[in-house]
Amino acid sequence: MKALVFDYKVSRLAISRIFGSFFLKGYLTKLGFLHLKEIACPNIKNDKWVIVKTKFCGICGSDHKQVFLDGNRDNPMTAVISWPQILGHEAVGIITKGETSKGLHIGDRVVLNPWLGCVPRGIDPPCIACQAGNNTLCRNFTNGNLTRGIHTGNSSDATGGFAEFFPAHNSMAFKIPDDISWDQATLSDPFSVAFHSILKVSPKPGSICAVYGCGNLGLLTIHILKSVFKEVQVIAIAKFEHQAKMAENFGADKIIRSDYTYKIIEKIADFVQCDILYLKKKKPWLIEGVDFLFDTVASPETLETGIRIVKSRSTPNDSKSRGSGTIVVTGVSSPKRFEWTPWYFKEIRIVGSNAFSVEEYEGYKEHSYEHYFRFLRDGRVNPSEMITHKFPLSLYKKAFLTAHNQEKYKSIKVGFSY
C-alpha cells in the first residue's frame, strides 16, 4: 500500500533544518524525514484487531508541527514514542479485515479513537488511569504488545491514516451511525479535544469565555460553547480573516483580530468594561477580565497575554469546581520564556487538557465520541464546514503546506481522501 512514512534520524536533522530555513518546502525534500513509500499492508495482530481501509484522514496541528520540525529536543514526549511512524490519527474508513471483533463487521464504517491505552496493549488488569476511563494518562504507553506510543501515528506498530490501510483494536474503532457523514465523523477527534477542554471548567450561564486561536480547536471550542452550553458569551481571538468569519458563523459574540497583543488586551478590557494598567504603552495588563480562557495555541505569546486578560481568581477554597480566573490549555508550542508575574499575583489557575476520554455530561457518562454523535443527531452541532481542503496522498507536500500556511490557503481542516 501507499503510505507516508516519517522516519526520524538525528543525522538528517541538520540538513532538514537548513533546507527548511530557506523555504518551508525544504522540510519535505528527499533528504528529509517524510517519504511516500510503497509498503506492506498492516496485518491483524490478534482476533481483537481489525484493518480499516482509510476513507479520509485529517491533518492535526501536531502532525504538521512534526513535519516542519517545530519541536525541541528536550521535549519529554520523545520518551513515549517510537520510529518509524505513519502519521495521521483523525481517521475514518471501512473495515476490510477482522470479523470476530465484538459488534464490528467487514464493511462497517468506523472512526478511529487513536489512544493506545492498556486495552489495545493487551494489558489486563488495566492501570489506574485506564480503569477510570482516562486512557490518555495510561501508565503503560511503553509496555504491552505494541511499541512505545501514546496514540496511533506515533507508535511504529500502530500506523496511522496517512496510508491506504490502518490497524485498530476493536476498542479503538467506533461504528459511525448511518445518519452521520464521513466529514462529520472525521471531526470526532478534534471535536472531542475541544469538548474535553470545556468540561475542565463547565462554564455557567452568564460566563464570559475567550478562545485564543481560531484554528480547528479554537473554532470547535467556540462552536461547542455557543451551541451545547447555555448563555455563555464568547470572545474569539483570531489571526486570519477566514477564521474570523467562521468564528462568527459559529456564533462568537465578539471577534478580536489583531497582530498586536496589547491591542487584544485593550479590546478585552473594553468588552468586559474594566481598568487597564500600563507598564509601558505596549505592555498593558488587567486585574479583571474574562472568566475563562481556552488557549488552543499555548505559545509563550498567548500564555503571556492570557494571564493578562483573565480575571483574578478569588475563591481559594473552591477546589472542586474550577471557577473564574481559569485558563485551559489544550496543547503546547515550543516552550520559551514569557513574563508570568500576573499568574501568581492574580492567582490564576492554568489547567492542562489532554485529548479526551470518557466524559460525563448532561447525565450521560460515555466516550466523548458518543457525546459528539448524540449532539450531531440532535442537530445541536454541525462542524463539517471546517473541512476546507482534501488531497490525494500523492499530493502530500501540497497538503502539508496548505495545512501549515493557513492565511495563504484560507485553510482550516485539511486532510487526505482516498
Partner: protein
C-alpha cells in the same frame, strides 16, 4: 525619624548593580538606591487611621530581591508601585496615636499589621467588589484614592515598616492577645502566605504533599500541613542541611537536598516511580506527589515539579522568581493544575470565615502551632548591612527569619 529608603534612581541603581556584582554587600553600600535616611514622622492620613510605634519588622524574601536588584524590567507589577519606598511589610508594634473615628483600638494596644491596603485604607466607600468580598489582594483601587500607588506597605511611597513609626488604616490592625508575644506575632504575614496557599491546594490527610524550598514560608507550610491539615506524608526539598534538620523535626517525612536530574531520581526512588527518559532533558513520571507548594517558583523548580507531580495533580506556586524558559509540555499532557497564590486575605477554614491574621492569632492562642524556632537573628535598624549579610549567607549563618528591632 530614620528609615530604610529605596529610591528608583537610574544612576544609583547602576552603581549598586556594578558594586553588587563585585561583592554582595555592594548592593546596600551608601550611595546606592538603599540608604538609611531621615524622613518626616508619619501623620494620620485620615480620621480612621492610627500611628503605630514599630517593635519588630521582619525582612521578607521579596525585600532581599528588591535590594539585590533581582527583579525584571518587564515585570508588570511595576505599574502598581511608587517610589521612594520605605521597605518592610511585616511589622508589629504598639498603637501610639489613634484618629478620632477609631473606636476599636486605643493607645498602647499591641497589634500585628496586615500590610495590604484596601479600599477603606484609600478612603473608598463603598469598597470595590473585590474588597467587599474580602479579596483585598485584587483591589481595583491600587492606584487611586488618598494614598500613592501601591498594593501594600513597603512598595507604596512613604509607607513601610523599616522605620520606628508607621501610619496604617484601622482595618489593617489586628490586636495581639495578651498570651502571645511580639516575637510570635511578627510571623503573621509569612504564616498567612503559607496558610493561604494551602487553602488553595486544599489537601486531604492522605495526600502526599511536597514543599519546595525551605525558607521561612516553606517551613511554615510544613507546620501548617502537619498541625492544621493533618497531612500524614509531607516531603520537602531544602537547599541547606540546617533547613532539612528543622523540617524533619517539625514533621516532614523525608527531605531532599539535591537538585536537577539527581532530585528527580531520588524522588522516583523514594516513591518507586517509573521514570520516562526523553532523548534529551530531564526524566519524568506520570505518577508522583499529589500536590506541591512551590515557595521558590523558579524555572528549575517549575520544570522539576511538573515532572514529579502525578497526572491531574496540583502545583501551587508562590514567590516571584524572575521568569525564564520552562519546558512545560507535561503541564498539558499530564493535565496538571498550576495555580498562583498571592499573599492572603479573608480565608475560609474549618467553617470559619475571617482574616488570615485572626486564624494565625487563634492558632497561637490555642497552641495548635509553635512558631518559636523560626526567628534566628534580630538587629537594630542601624545594623541593616549586617542583617542583609546574614540573609545572603544562609548556609553559614543558618538564618531563617531575620528581624529589625526598634527601641521601646
Amino acid at each position: 525619624m530614620p528609615a530604610l529608603v529605596f529610591e528608583m534612581k537610574t544612576l544609583k541603581l547602576i552603581k549598586a548593580y556594578v558594586r553588587g556584582k563585585i561583592k554582595n554587600n555592594g548592593y546596600w553600600k551608601s550611595g546606592g538606591p538603599l540608604n538609611l535616611k531621615v524622613v518626616p514622622l508619619p501623620k494620620l492620613v485620615s480620621n480612621d487611621w492610627v500611628i503605630v510605634k514599630t517593635v519588630y519588622c521582619g525582612i521578607c524574601g521579596s525585600d532581599m530581591k528588591e535590594i539585590t536588584l533581582s527583579g525584571n524590567r518587564d515585570n508588570p507589577l511595576q505599574s502598581l508601585i511608587s517610589f521612594p519606598q520605605i521597605l518592610g511589610h511585616e511589622p508589629v508594634g504598639i498603637i501610639e496615636k489613634v484618629g478620632p473615628t477609631v473606636l476599636n483600638f486605643k493607645l498602647g494596644d499591641r497589634i500585628a499589621i496586615s500590610p495590604w491596603f484596601n479600599c477603606a485604607s484609600r478612603g473608598f466607600i463603598p469598597p470595590c467588589p473585590r474588597c467587599k468580598q474580602g479579596d483585598y489582594v485584587h483591589c481595583s483601587n491600587f492606584k487611586s484614592g488618598q494614598l500613592p500607588s501601591g498594593m501594600h506597605l513597603g512598595v507604596t511611597k512613604g509607607f513601610g515598616g523599616f522605620a520606628p513609626y508607621i501610619a496604617v488604616h484601622k482595618s489593617q490592625c489586628f490586636l495581639i492577645p495578651n498570651n502571645i508575644s511580639f516575637e510570635q506575632a511578627v510571623l503573621a504575614d509569612p504564616f498567612s502566605v503559607a496558610f493561604h496557599s494551602l487553602l488553595t491546594l486544599n489537601p486531604s490527610p492522605t495526600d502526599i504533599i511536597m514543599v519546595y524550598g525551605l525558607g521561612v514560608i516553606g517551613l511554615l507550610t510544613i507546620l501548617c500541613l502537619k498541625n492544621l491539615f493533618n497531612v500524614e506524608n509531607v516531603i520537602a526539598v531544602a537547599r541547606y542541611p540546617f533547613q532539612k534538620d528543622l523540617a524533619l523535626e517539625i514533621g516532614a517525612s523525608k527531605v531532599f537536598t539535591s537538585s536537577g536530574g539527581q532530585l528527580i531520581e531520588e524522588i522516583a526512588k523514594y516513591f518507586n516511580l517509573k521514570l520516562y527518559k526523553p532523548d534529551k532533558g530531564l526524566k519524568w513520571a506520570l505518577d508522583g506527589v499529589d500536590g506541591i507548594i512551590d515557595t521558590v517558583a523558579s524555572a528549575e523548580t517549575m520544570e522539576i515539579g511538573i515532572r514529579i507531580t502525578r497526572a491531574q495533580g496540583k502545583i501551587i506556586f508562590l514567590g516571584v522568581s524572575t521568569p525564564k524558559r520552562v519546558e512545560n509540555t507535561l503541564h498539558y499532557f499530564k493535565e496538571l493544575e498550576i495555580i498562583g497564590s498571592n499573599a492572603f486575605s479573608i480565608e475560609n477554614f474549618e467553617k470559619q470565615i475571617q482574616h488570615a491574621f485572626y486564624f494565625f492569632l487563634d492558632f497561637l492562642s490555642k497552641d495548635r502551632i509553635d512558631v518559636s524556632r523560626f526567628i534566628t537573628h534580630v538587629f537594630p535598624l542601624d545594623d541593616f548591612d549586617e542583617a542583609f549579610n546574614v540573609l545572603i549567607n544562609k548556609k553559614k549563618t543558618k538564618a531563617i527569619k531575620v528581624l529589625f528591632k526598634f527601641n521601646s
